[in-house]
């Protein structure tokens, strides 16, 4: 994170060719990584489910397009839920993309989100590169690409990932600008303005980057004054830089407003109003597990965010980010003592501020928090960027101190990233439920921390239910439909149902056949007296449980007959039994509960049990041939 880091060391180079071409090799390797990430995105985007926020944001995106298409007459976007408080750049562009490509709506939006996620890799590469050159850019890209929580969110998170991408680009541009203080080319100011606007056009919190820029201007002016004791010079520098800051603000503001109809009607006051609302965000109030206790979203303990960052990021990323921060602080102290490199000192300060300020602020003001670190996902690329710098600095130090060849460290680094990629493949397509080994992996946090808070697991749960039905009751599948319920909105569920399953209407008094529960709001603990028909699981831990509502599970010894979801014990836990080490099964799951009453395949009787009619009774003829 220092300019010193760029200067070629005096230690002998391994070879002239490497010395001349290393930068090119790292850059081309980074490009190759972008291409591979794109391939993976295009090959896998259909696997991901629809998350809570997506439907709202995509409706909002359509309203924004209608706002423009109707010449500002369709005013739906001005009052749509709480979404009007968000800039709608991603939503509107995603809606436009979905209209252009011949794919089902949500699949198109998932593809678009995934491509924006790849842009996030480009952003972190740029950040690492401006901080410490092509090697750091490559390392930062690899670190982020191997971070499950980022990759998993890119496909179906319509606000946190796009914001993270804009924020990272903006910080990279900010570092470029600050390091060229006091003479900044117009092109750099413009790029910073565009990046700030991109961040703010997703979440108004992107205004933070403008605050960092202002802090950098003030900080550099102070540096000039302290080192020269020349007040006129300091004033001149401040005026010059402040002018640039105003230009960045104006350009960023214009970009932000482009896709934000509600703010367009009062461009000066409304963005600040939205900022005020967002800092006191209280639209979601509910209970959630946190360690051994149950907490409310509006009264989270101070260690909520730190603990989630500690548990949800790969250990290698945590370690390298911490080292990068230490290296950065040490370099800043060195520069301060030597009274040189003021611009670099301020730039490093900006990066550390961009990482530390948001979570510290959230802790201090006790913000409403939920869904783990989802709202602070924008810090993950920043940590990867700093981690990339740490890799380069570490390689240099190890070589200088212990003659450890850089290639050895590179091998360890690649192996560590490769291990994380294997874990991601194991979790696919639920990468965001990842917990590291400090937390004990997914089984270690079951019922203790939020895992599938976004409902991504439902798609696979419906698939598994259909597979299991076909395996156990093929005649029923060919002749009727099964009524299902769960903890997701009907319009989301209908995207998964096809004709074998039908969502039970709220006013439908007929009983359910199956209930699908995930972990949010303890949904998977409902109907515990019903046996588990099938489940979605990873690493041996369930993500979504499908309960067979047609049967009653035999009671466990000492269990009350009416043991409900919120009653105290005794109850059977869904926590998996301790497993042998090794990769947990991801294939067709076995029912975790007793299923003794399940009908046999091809038994030739109504599968609803007890002679109950299905939602759509029908006839099946399996043998006659025309």
């Amino acid at each position: 994170m220092t300019r010193d880091a760029h200067v070629v060391s005096s230690t002998p180079a391994p070879s002239r060719w490497w010395a001349e071409n290393a930068g090119l090799v790292f850059d081309l390797s980074s490009y190759a990584m972008f291409a591979v990430a794109t391939l993976i995105a295009v090959a896998t985007f259909r696997d991901y489910g629809i998350t809570w926020d997506e439907s709202w944001h995509h409706t909002y995106g359509n309203y924004i397009l209608e706002w423009f298409r109707t010449g500002f007459r369709d005013r739906s976007a001005l009052s749509y839920r709480g979404d009007y408080l968000y800039g709608g750049a991603f939503d509107a562009l995603a809606a436009l993309f979905a209209r252009l490509v011949p794919l089902p709506w949500f699949e198109a939006v998932h593809l678009f989100g995934a491509l924006v996620g790849v842009l996030g890799l480009v952003a972190v590469w740029r950040l690492g590169r401006v901080l410490a050159g092509p090697a750091a850019g490559f390392a930062a890209t690899a670190l982020l690409a191997a971070t499950s929580v980022y990759h998993g969110h890119t496909f179906n998170n319509p606000k946190d990932v796009p914001f993270a991408v804009g924020y990272t680009f903006a910080i990279a541009e900010l570092v470029e600008v600050v390091r060229s203080f006091p003479v900044v080319s117009r092109g750099r100011w413009v790029r910073l303005g565009l990046a700030c606007g991109a961040a703010m056009s997703v979440r108004i919190g992107g205004m933070l980057v403008l605050c960092y820029l202002l802090a950098a201007v003030v900080g550099f002016t102070a540096w000039v004054f302290v080192t020269t004791r020349n007040q006129d010079l300091a004033e001149g520098v401040f005026v010059r830089l402040f002018r640039g800051f105003l230009g960045v603000w104006a350009l960023g503001w214009a970009v932000m407003l482009a896709f934000w109809p509600w703010a367009q009607l009062d461009p000066v006051r409304r963005p600040f109003f939205a900022l005020g609302r967002m800092t006191r965000f209280n639209l979601h109030t509910r209970k959630m597990p946190f360690g051994d206790e149950e907490i409310a979203t509006y009264a989270v303990p101070w260690d909520y965010l730190p603990r989630y960052f500690l548990f949800k990021l790969p250990e290698v990323l945590l370690l390298l980010a911490a080292m990068g921060a230490v290296f950065g602080v040490r370099a800043m102290v060195r520069r301060w003592k030597a009274r040189r490199g003021g611009a670099d000192l301020v730039a490093a300060g900006c990066v550390l501020l961009a990482i530390a300020f948001p979570p510290v602020w959230a802790v201090v003001v006790r913000s409403n928090l939920y869904d783990g670190l989802r709202h602070f996902l924008f810090l993950v690329p920043m940590l990867a960027g700093v981690g990339g710098v740490a890799v380069v600095a570490l390689a240099r130090r190890l070589q200088a101190a212990a003659q450890v060849p850089p290639v050895a460290l590179a091998a360890v680094f690649v192996a560590w990233c490769g291990r994380e990629v294997v874990v991601m493949a194991d979790l696919h397509p639920h990468e965001y439920v990842y917990f590291n080994r400090i937390a004990g992996g997914l089984p270690g946090v079951l019922e203790r921390y939020d895992t599938d808070y976004y409902g991504n697991g439902y798609r696979e749960a419906f698939d598994r239910l259909r597979d299991e039905l076909w395996r156990t009751d093929p005649e029923g599948v060919l002749s009727r439909r099964y009524r299902v319920g769960g903890c997701i909105p009907r319009f989301v569920a209908e995207e998964y149902l096809r004709s074998v399953l039908v969502w039970r209407e709220r006013n439908d008094k007929r009983p359910l056949d199956f209930f699908l529960g995930y972990q949010r709001n303890k949904c998977f603990q409902r109907h515990r007296h019903r046996p588990i028909f099938t489940q979605v699981e990873r690493q041996g831990a369930p993500i979504v449980l499908v309960r067979d509502m047609r049967r009653v599970r035999p009671k466990a010894p000492g269990e009350r007959k009416d043991a409900g979801a919120n009653r105290p014990a005794p109850r059977p836990s869904i926590r998996p039994a301790p497993q042998k080490p090794g990769r947990a099964g991801k294939g067709p799951s076995q029912p975790a509960g007793p299923v003794s009453g399940r009908p046999k395949a091809g038994a030739g009787r109504a599968p609803g049990g007890a002679g109950r009619a299905g939602a759509g009774e029908g006839a099946v003829g399996v043998s006659p041939r025309p």
Binding site: P14, W470, R498
Partner: protein
């Protein structure tokens, strides 16, 4: 990685230091000492980058003299930056550009490589009629799958919400004998013909109802036709098929061919048969 890597060239650093010096000198009342320090750093870096020795800034020079010195230094540095031999070979620059181009265009070619043709052009020819007796001015579309849930809406704005019909045609191409099970679910009536033979009969006015039937098929091209009508209330239709004992799902697009915009009424799959 590490010390062997020239992450940012000394020339670029020199340019940066020079810019800083010039910036300080631009400000009225600038400190010549600070500017001179930057100039010295720029000069040293330029030398490190392989430029011929440049004269150091004159000692105790005032702002004007330093500015003149900076201009002279700038000429050398800018010329060097523009020269490929100093910045890096032309081949390296070209490689970098090609790599960047491939990376930036990767979404396009990844999409082209990995997207099955079925996503772009569906193999089903769908013809919609504004009456429930397959009459009136029809609209023809292509679809990849027969799964429609109109609920209480009409398929097109110009169509009625109730009392419309549709006919779906495609050609099933089999390389070996198969005995698929077709599953037809609809509200209201629907029926499936294979080579003109009624296989699944789900006809009549009713709420969602499921009918299934298996049929033995020889290798070759088979015409599939689904007819559907909506009488009143919600409207939906879905066709699934089970091949090789798998659970019923949409018929794989790799087995289907589009019969053409104007298929032969006598043999709708003639074009596919003649040009497989």
């Amino acid at each position: 990685m590490g010390s062997a890597v020239p992450e940012t060239s000394p020339l670029e650093e020199a340019h940066r230091a020079l810019s800083a010096a010039q910036g300080i000198l631009l400000v009225e009342g600038a400190s010549p000492r600070e500017a001179a320090r930057y100039l010295e750093r720029a000069r040293a870096l330029a030398e490190q980058a392989g430029l011929s020795p440049l004269p150091p800034p004159p000692p105790e020079a005032d702002a004007a003299a330093l500015a003149a010195h900076a201009r002279a230094l700038a000429v050398g540095i800018e010329r060097a930056r523009a020269t490929p031999q100093v910045r890096g070979s032309r081949r390296r620059r070209r490689l970098r550009r090609v790599g960047a181009f491939l990376a930036w265009t990767s979404p396009i070619w990844a999409y082209a490589l990995l997207t099955p043709f079925s996503w772009r052009e569906g193999p089903w020819r769908s013809e919609f009629f504004p009456t429930k007796s397959f009459e009136g001015e029809s609209k023809v579309r292509r679809h990849s799958d027969i799964v429609f849930k109109w609920k209480k809406a009409a398929p097109f704005k110009s169509f009625p919400e109730d009392g419309f019909s549709a006919r779906f045609d495609t050609c099933l191409v089999l390389d070996e004998p198969a005995e698929p099970v077709f599953r037809l679910s609809s509200d209201d009536g629907s029926r499936l013909f294979v080579d003109g033979l009624l296989v699944v009969d789900n006809w009549g006015s009713h709420s969602v109802r499921v009918r299934s039937q298996s049929i033995a098929l020889d290798p070759g091209v088979h015409h599939l036709r689904v007819e559907y009508f909506e009488h009143t209330g919600p409207a939906e239709i879905e066709l699934d098929a089970s091949f090789d004992g798998d659970r019923p799902r949409a018929i794989p697009a790799r087995l289907l061919r589009y019969p053409g915009n104007e298929p032969d009424p006598e043999d709708p799959c003639r074009a596919v048969r003649e040009d497989p």
